[in-house]
Symmetry: C3
Subunit: 447 residues, 3 copies
């Protein structure tokens, strides 16, 4: 997909695919949870790409919207040993082996007693599933069904060396200011332990997107990048920033599941036709035709919070294979080999293009709306290039001049003419330079 992109400062072949994949491999082993050391060290590693992040800190027990901030979870090691003392599951091998959020336990139990504490996937006999127990005092082990089925009766030794203790929930935030107070939100999450597509692809691509944008040049929009735990992180963040976002947010996206080689999927905002949706669908339509576009639904990732009816923010999500639709989802099969540098790069490029479209989208208005304005005396006729190209450019000029009547932004003008907006951007600028377009009243970065 990346090769097809036509504009943007550094679009095209680049070496960021390898760099992104290397960062993902580095982050993979960390035992993340909603709160605790895992997410802190993850944020620290991301900062090597993004530069310093602000930290919004929510102490355990803080009420956030309808919720309450949980305790921190620290995993040192969790081991399950069989009757003969052999290791059945050990988080030193794979941190998915323990139910995320498990309370500390040291005990011996029979296989019968253990059964309700074991989780496996009969449909994927070699996969260790990912399970959580965030809001009740539970514990358990996850293991491959093939291993589970070989367990023999007898007494098992449980050794879960964890802490559940008061502390704080942290959300990392990076604000890249623009000339306007209108804002764009890029939100991702980093609370999952060792899984690559869902979720490390999200924070990795988001970090590189932030770095690119910080170096890209002047911005019209102000951009807000958010890295936190899923659900409770977005809820905590909204408890702090919700009112502000309701006033200033013009577009936003949740970045998740962007590293697998599957084709793109766009999930619309709850509004369905918000600026984020128009931009994403425009880019997909022209650069990745045939991508799937889904109406908003109330399950999924953090768009659930941003698009809760009280906020109803213009936030969608561009993914590759959507959570829940790929076999590897929420198991140890979602590992670093499932994610490729090429896929990460193409996803990054797509988000860059969406930002380019946002930045270039203006409410142009014709200054000469009565009859066609004359191009010749203004030096607007293309003088180089093939005749067919010249006819295309003149056609595009006429299209922009005709539809720039103050009722549509440039994106709407492009969609009206079934043209990619990036072909019209230089044309609109040329027309504006010749005094035939001026920025209309709804301009200035607005939606």
């Amino acid at each position: 997909v990346g090769d097809e992109l036509r504009t943007g400062a550094d679009i095209g072949a680049d070496d960021r695919g390898a760099a992104m994949h290397a960062l993902l491999v580095e982050l993979f082993p960390i035992a993340r949870s909603l709160a605790g050391p895992g997410i802190r060290s993850t944020l620290a590693a991301l900062e090597e790409v993004t530069g310093p992040l602000d930290r919004l800190v929510f102490p355990t027990g803080t009420p956030v919207l309808d919720w309450e901030v949980p305790r921190e979870w620290t995993l040192r090691r969790a081991v399950l040993r069989g009757p003969d003392g052999s290791v059945v599951a050990d988080t030193d091998d794979c941190n998915l082996h323990v139910v995320n959020g498990s309370v500390p336990v040291r005990t011996r139990v029979s296989l019968d007693e253990l059964e309700s504490r074991l989780f496996s996937r009969p449909d994927l006999p070699d996969a260790i599933p990912y399970r959580t127990s965030y809001y009740d005092e539970g514990w358990g082990f996850c293991l491959a069904d093939r291993v589970r089925r070989a367990l023999v009766p007898g007494e098992y030794e449980v050794d879960i060396d964890t802490d559940l203790a008061d502390g704080e929930l942290v959300v990392g935030e990076l604000v890249l200011p623009g000339s306007s107070s209108d804002e764009v939100l890029i939100s991702t999450y980093c609370c999952h332990p060792s899984m690559a597509n869902n979720e490390l692809s999200g924070p990795v691509v988001t970090a590189f997107l932030a770095r690119w944008l910080s170096q890209r040049g002047p911005r019209r929009y102000t951009y807000r990048f958010v890295f936190g735990p899923e659900t409770i992180g977005a809820i905590s963040y909204l408890s702090e920033r919700g009112a502000h976002l309701r006033e200033h947010l013009r577009a936003g996206w949740v970045v998740t599941c962007v590293g697998d080689p599957g084709s793109f999927t766009y999930k619309r905002s709850r509004r369905g036709d918000a600026l984020c949706d128009r931009v994403a669908e425009h880019v997909l339509h022209h650069l990745a035709p045939g991508s799937e576009v889904l109406d908003f639904f109330a399950t999924g990732s953090d768009e659930r919070q941003y698009c809760s009816p009280g906020f109803d923010l213009p936030v969608g999500s561009l993914m590759r294979s959507m959570h829940g639709t790929f076999r590897e989802y929420h198991t140890s099969l979602d590992d670093t080999s499932f994610v490729t540098g090429e896929a990460l790069t193409a996803s990054l490029h797509m988000y860059q293009q969406m930002i380019e479209v946002l930045e270039a989208n203006r409410w142009w208005q014709s200054t000469a709306p009565y009859g066609e304005p004359r191009l010749g005396p203004r030096g607007l006729y293309p003088t180089t290039g093939a005749a067919a190209d010249a006819a295309r450019v003149v056609g595009d000029m006429m299209h922009v001049l005709n539809f720039a009547d103050g009722t549509r932004d440039l994106l709407g003008i492009a969609d009206r003419g079934k043209r990619p907006m990036w072909l019209l951007v230089p044309i609109a600028e040329q027309l504006a330079g010749a005094g035939l377009l001026r920025e209309g009243d709804r301009g200035g970065g607005g939606a």
Copy 2:
């Protein structure tokens, strides 16, 4: 279809099919017309199912809207005899043999003179057609085309023993009050002589629907059942109730052609997207996918009057094979064998389901619209059942909570999520019980 229905007090296999068919067989021989003894005895028989009906009485000559109430017609017997004295047509065999509304005549005519008084269907040589002569002083005989073609020249004896006399037009009405003054209309007609699908299936199903609803339990809506002659009955009824219905009616349906084994057909109200249409199309979509849905058109049955532009009431019609589309229509072939107990039952079930949907449809509004509300502490997580079922229930809860924003009723929430509303009803009630939903301002039975 009945087997697929999921809710409703007595949905599922029942013995009402046999009872309905038996009532239809009982009513079949009666020589009904617009006004007269036939419709009176029909109403009396229906009352054995519905309980007492109120009677709206319109004396002959009363102006009703643009019309005038006709005289009563009484048929004792009409016989046509051939030159050799043999019986050609006799209403004692089939009351379709005489043109409905014929004036009394006793005369002898040649076959040539008789021809313009005879009606047959060359395309259906064994069928006796149904013809009427309500508003002019005519008479005639209907007979099988095969019989007609065998008639020999000579003098024929006409003996039509009827009365056309001042009297009254009667419309039976049953009102089942609900807690709200918002109303639902169920209208059917019973002016046709011996025909089963069009029309006896209509009053029979309507009568059983009324009985079911009277025993069903508390109602929110007030229901108004109407049994009268077609066209002039609806016009007379509207002359009395039109202003009231314009103020109170929220949904309504004309019940006709609901006994044949064909698939369902829904004809929309003139408004096209009224509550009656949304309910009927929702039920059909989920319980009888592939049914035909037609936009309103100005010919048909009594919806023509309810949907005349001055009234423009929210009245559609759920039928099986629509009038005019089946071969047996308006002939002696539309007999009691053309109608089945199964088809009558399934039609009854469908109307019951439409009423269940109406009754359960509320303007729920989330009380916790900022971010997702927490289900766990409120005991809302499903604790029994398979994991897939639990995920479905949680997904449905999230769906209802997200879309219950005061702009949609529960039916709209169900349609937005492509779910049958009956799956969401218990979920909405559970959420309301936990204080997460309250009934919104447009609630209280409104549309």
Copy 3:
């Protein structure tokens, strides 16, 4: 197509096809340009069909909207001779041989110097292309690519005997007044030299349409026919009539490319659903189903000016094969044999039908909207014709009476019922005669 038309004073087989083609042959050799003797003699020839045209005269240099009126161009003869003195291109053979608007030149040049002045179409080796040089001081020759490729090196003799001199641009206008001040615009152009479909078919059909309309009988709308040069003519005309048209114009069409045997193409007005669009699409739908319908786009013919955003007039264009889509376009292949009398006649009939629909379109409103009005006592039941026809007429009456509620014109009533409007016109008039319809508040010729 003509044979399928159902109404209109002189629709059906007629001999105007031959007359139109003869006029086109007569006009073909004239060396037209934007201004000058060619367009003047063309207008004079058209007046033999239309009667006298008013002339709007714009002197050279007059500012018109964003433009300026050009000089007149007179072509006496232009010849290009080869090194051996033989004629390579001579406008006495075909006036496309010289670039239209060429300045006078008498010189000798080498083949190398000549190359940039020569125009041919390698894809159509036998076609002489049509090129213009209106707004810069250029000159050149157009020739068949086969001839060009055979040119030998050497000195070529250029003899372009033309004038470019101050004068005037002329637009011919014919106003046929109606009872209302609401107007319909029929606009065509006549600035192209020897080409038949684009463009002589346009002024020829328009002239015959004007003659037909002037003889047709009383008109409700006032019709304005415009004959001028393309682009600058429409711009000049709008500089004079734009404000008036914005107030009075209800529908309009640009007539061009209406003589080839291809199927019909309709290009919508910029508004997309203006009266001109509804009428044209209705007529095409019923008389030429399968015709192509295109949304407005900003390139094309004079609709570009009428539909510039400041004017945004309700002007579309019914064509046969659209400019740019047929092989012969803008070359000597678009000659009098490419255009047929049958195609011209069918196009004329289509425009006539559109005018008939406009004239017959009224805002009928039912006077008896409560229940169905009774047809019998008003003598409205059809008494002649087959039963099926009678049922159709009654159905149409019911349809008109139901939907004539003041929110739709008769065209909208016809479209709502998927019926051709001309079947409903006599029915509406019959109902109006019986007092069941009256003309509504939006009537009187309005849109």
